[in-house]
Amino acid sequence: MTNESLREPRASRVRPPWWSAKGAPLTVVLLGLMMLWYLIAAAVNLAGVRDAFEREDIAYTTGDLIAGTWSAERPILPAPHQIIAEFATSIFSYPPDSNRSLVYHGWVTLSATLAGFFIGTLLGIALAILIVYVRSLEKSLLPWIISSQTVPILAIAPIIVVVLGSIGVHGILPKSIISAYLCFFPITIGMVKGLNSPDPIQRDLMRTYSANPSQTFFKLRWPASMPFLFTSLKVAIAASLVGAIVGELPTGAQSGLGARLLAGSYYGQTVQIWAALFAASLLAAALVAAIGLAERLVVRRMGGGA
């Protein structure tokens, strides 16, 4: 693009972000989904609302009925505005250390997620290095690593919590271990590929310099694996969040997004469940975005082009 066209954008080109060339398709899809959501909410909540009106013997119109499906206290499927309202209340109406605040529960889950992510990343990278450098481990260790992921995490999570609890480990650590168990895997697989990614020609080059193994690692294999690392980290951070939430489910935990989900389903508080879900997905999106930001910074430092 020339400088001139940059300086004088035509009036028709100026659009708000939600209606720009990039944003418009997303906005259209979002609106479509919202409409669909309201329709489905009306359909599934209809019977309950009609029963309520008839039980109370109140005369109602179709309009009342439909409005009722979107504002019921314990709907089967809450409408989007109810979820957003509940979400906002749980965040802004309580002090952040209150048991009713989503900020509090989110923080509990986030800290377990980050601790698990940290452990899982270190473990994943260490396993990848072992597999790359000790040839026999690729055949002996990798099948176990893969089969570790076929065991349902829901079955393993209570075992880990109980076993660790019996030796006096409580609090954040059992949850982090479950989270690490889920997130080390994509990192190992990605890093094995990344550390092996340098061309034969580049390895020969290091050989002609008579570089020692640690120089070859830090000057060639490690930097070459960075794009693979960040791709794996994005998958891993989402998996660690799932791990932390799953770790909160079977233990009767009092705090955390998982506990919030569980409490909501005990008491039929569907709006509360959906608000917690909404918080969890926002958290996941923020974490993935943070990794993406770190990736951009590293890529820029490493030349950006490759």
């Binding site: 050989r207 002609t208 310099y209 008579s210 120089q215 000057k219 930097p223 070459a224 082009g305 490759a306």
Partner: protein, 319 residues
């Protein structure tokens, strides 16, 4: 069972000016402990009396590469493939030697043997009088690959500093050397660029500068300009000649271009495939300050003709 022992004793130049190779041979067939024959050969080698590469007189120069009966057989799923068969070649200090031949004639393999990136199946090979492995560990040579092989996450300058970091020079020395050799290949001003910001020819120049940066006396080049267009290639050929003149290095250059080989070399080794062997060894004693116009002279055409005849004799033009 055949065990070959080979030892080369090199005396320092000041003392004896000589070298003796001790070749032991044990042949055994029936069992591991029964030998059929045992023989020690005391074999006098060429006596080196020349003071070094500065001395341009023919025949008396220091040998940089010495191969005798060098063979390499690759084991593949379809049975053994004889990549190189019984190669004898001596390369003297200050020579510019081109290895030319069709694909599969083993010219790159020969270069990789010198660089200790492949191991011979038979024969002896000495680089600067020592084994290729020791020569590699002591960084006797710089290797330029077919592709520039610059690390994409390092700037041009940092790419040149890579071997210097590995050697362990100080930061200041690394920077100074990188700048110096970038200037030598006319890449001053591109220090902070990343490889992808450079053209193919510039990348290969940076790769040559990187091979020179730790000042090895021997330069091994594997079709460095093979992927470039002819105009860029001509230009880089000229630059390489100037560089060679300036630095008085020994160069072993693999190519499949006849004009390139004749233009650059003091010696041309014509090779043929299946198995890889040397067909002809041509000496071109033209002055070193050749320019591209040299290619239009009758001498040039005569040598190029001889190379082509050699290739034809090796059935390189069949099929």
């Amino acid at each position: 069972m055949l065990i070959q022992l080979s030892a080369a004793l090199a005396f320092s130049r000041k003392e004896a000016e000589g070298r003796v190779a001790l070749v032991g041979r044990i042949d055994g067939a029936a069992g591991p402990w029964r030998t059929q024959g045992f023989q020690f050969v005391l074999e006098p080698m060429r006596i080196d009396t020349a003071p070094g590469p500065e001395d341009a007189t023919k025949g008396g120069r220091r040998s940089v590469i010495d191969m005798r009966g060098l063979s390499l057989t690759f084991k593949t799923d379809d049975g053994p493939v004889e990549a190189l068969s019984n190669i004898d070649l001596r390369i003297d200090a200050g020579d510019f030697v081109s290895l030319i031949g069709p694909s599969g004639c083993g010219k790159t393999t020969l270069l990789r043997l010198i660089a200790d990136l492949e191991q011979p199946s038979a024969g002896t090979l000495l680089v600067n009088g020592i084994s290729p492995e020791r020569a590699r560990l002591d960084r006797h040579y710089g290797y330029v690959f077919q592709a520039p092989a610059l690390l994409p996450w390092r700037t041009v300058e940092k790419n040149l500093m890579l071997p210097l970091e590995i050697i362990g020079l100080s930061r200041a020395q690394q920077l100074e050397r990188a700048r110096h050799y970038l200037a030598m290949v006319n890449l001053s001003g591109f220090e902070r660029k990343f490889p992808w910001q450079l053209s193919g020819g510039m990348q290969q120049r940076a790769s040559i500068a990187r091979a020179l940066s730790f000042d090895p006396k021997l330069l091994l080049m594997d079709e460095p300009f093979g992927a470039l267009d002819e105009i860029v290639r001509d230009h880089l050929n000229e630059q390489l000649l100037r560089l060679w003149e300036k630095t008085s290095k020994t160069v072993v250059f693999v190519t499949h271009s006849i004009p390139e080989a004749v233009f650059l070399s003091t010696k041309i080794v014509v090779m043929s495939p299946r198995p890889g062997r040397i067909l002809d060894l041509i000496t071109c004693d033209f002055p070193r300050d050749r320019t591209l116009d040299f290619r239009d002279t009758t001498e040039f055409i005569a040598v190029a003709h001889r190379v082509r005849q050699g290739l034809r004799a090796g059935h390189s033009y069949d099929e």
